[in-house]
C-alpha cells in the first residue's frame, strides 16, 4: 500500500527556517500538488509567499498542534483539524508554529488548468546540498529538474549558483544568462546573491 506517516517523509529544512515534507514527490502524484510542512529552527512552518507566479488557489490543513497563519496581514490562530483557504494568489500568506509538534498539509492548483509540477519542487531538494557544499549532488538534482521543466528560469538560476559555488565559472555564467533570459526578474536577485559572488565581476555577468 502507498502509505506513509508525515513524520516518515523526507525532512528538508530550508533557509527560511521551515521543514518541507515532500508528499507529492514521495508518492509520485501527478494529478495535484500536495505537501506537508513542520517547523524548523525559526519556528516558521509555512514560508511567507504569494502564489502570483503560479496562480494557485491553496488550502492549508493543520494536521496537529497549533499554528498562527498570517494572510494579507491578518493573523489567525488555528489548531488541529482547522482549514484555511486562500483563493487570491496575490495575497501574502505564511505561518509560524505555536507548538513544537505542529504540522500543516497544503494542497493547491490553478483553476481551469491541469496540474503542473512546480519548478520549486525541483529546486528545494537541492538547497540542503548547496548549503552543505555537496555541489555535485545539488547539480544532479537541478539537472533532473531541467529535464522535467526545460528552460525554467528558477532551476537554471539555482544551477548557476551551484556551479558558481563549485568554481565552475563558465558553466555558471552560461546558465545564469539563460536564467535571466527566461525570467528577467532574476537579474535583481543575482546582483546581490552571495552564491554568485565568484562570478559577479566577470564581464559576462548579465547586467541588463
Amino acid at each position: 500500500m502507498n502509505l506513509a506517516h508525515v513524520d516518515g517523509l523526507d525532512a528538508i529544512e530550508l533557509p527560511e527556517g521551515f521543514v518541507w515534507r515532500p508528499v507529492r514527490r514521495y508518492f509520485g502524484i501527478q494529478a495535484f500538488g500536495v505537501n506537508a510542512y513542520t517547523p524548523g529552527a525559526s519556528g516558521r512552518v509555512v514560508e511567507e509567499h504569494t502564489e502570483d507566479s503560479l496562480g494557485h488557489e491553496e488550502i492549508y490543513l493543520v494536521l496537529r498542534g497549533r499554528v498562527r497563519f498570517t494572510i494579507d496581514g491578518d493573523e489567525h490562530d488555528l489548531s488541529a483539524g482547522q482549514l484555511v483557504f486562500v483563493r487570491d494568489p496575490s495575497l501574502r500568506r505564511g505561518a509560524v508554529a505555536l507548538s513544537d509538534d505542529a504540522a500543516v498539509l497544503a494542497t493547491g492548483g490553478k483553476p481551469g488548468r491541469p496540474h503542473e509540477i512546480s519548478a520549486w519542487e525541483y529546486s528545494f531538494p537541492a538547497v540542503p546540498h548547496l548549503q552543505a557544499g555537496r555541489y555535485e549532488e545539488a547539480k544532479r538534482l537541478l539537472l533532473e529538474g531541467l529535464e522535467a521543466k526545460p528552460g525554467d528560469g528558477a532551476i537554471l538560476y539555482n544551477l548557476a549558483c551551484a556551479e558558481a559555488l563549485a568554481g565552475e565559472q563558465d558553466e555558471a555564467l552560461g546558465h545564469l544568462a539563460s536564467a535571466v533570459a527566461a525570467d528577467p526578474h532574476l537579474l535583481e536577485t543575482a546582483r546581490t546573491d552571495e552564491d554568485l559572488a565568484s562570478i559577479r565581476d566577470d564581464p559576462r555577468f548579465p547586467h541588463k
Binding site: H5, A31, V34, L61, R64, L105, G109
Partner: protein, 133 residues
C-alpha cells in the same frame, strides 16, 4: 487527520493513525473504517492531465441530505444551481432525476433523465445496464 482508521486498498489492509497519508491510483478499490470515535479523514484528488472539475457527487450528497430531511425545495435548488453552472454535465441531471424519483415526482424525474440521456447516452446506458443486471 484525527483518530485512527483501517484502510483497505486493493487487497491490502493497513492501520492508519493520525498523520498517515495514503495514495491510491484511480483504478484501485479503496475504503476505510474508523477505529476510534471522532476519526476524521481529509481527502484530495484529481485526474492526471486534466483541469480539476468537481464530480458533482458532493452536490448530490448535500442535495440528498436535504431531501431526506424533508427540505425538498432546497434540495432541488441546490441541484438546479449546479446544473446551471455546469450544463455539460450528464451526471447532474441524472442525479437530480434520482432525487425527483425518490421524492415521488415522476414527471420531473423523467424529464431530467431525458436531459441526461441527451448529454451522454453511453454513460446513462452503462448505469441502466448495472441496474438491470
Amino acid at each position: 487527520m484525527r483518530g485512527r482508521a483501517t484502510f483497505t486498498v486493493g487487497d491490502e489492509q493497513s492501520e492508519a493513525p493520525a498523520g498517515t497519508l495514503v495514495f491510491v491510483p484511480a483504478e484501485v478499490f479503496r475504503t476505510a473504517v474508523a477505529e476510534e470515535d471522532g476519526t476524521l479523514v481529509f481527502v484530495v484528488g484529481a485526474t492526471v492531465g486534466e483541469a480539476f472539475a468537481g464530480g458533482g457527487w458532493d452536490t448530490f450528497a448535500v442535495a440528498d441530505g436535504l431531501r431526506q430531511a424533508g427540505r425538498v425545495d432546497e434540495s432541488r435548488a441546490v441541484m438546479r444551481k449546479e446544473m446551471e453552472a455546469r450544463p455539460e454535465s450528464w451526471a447532474l441531471p441524472y442525479n437530480a432525476a434520482c432525487l425527483e424519483a425518490l421524492s415521488g415526482n415522476a414527471d420531473e424525474a423523467l424529464a431530467l433523465l431525458r436531459r441526461a440521456l441527451e448529454l451522454d447516452q453511453t454513460e446513462i446506458h452503462k448505469y441502466f445496464q448495472e441496474l438491470l443486471g
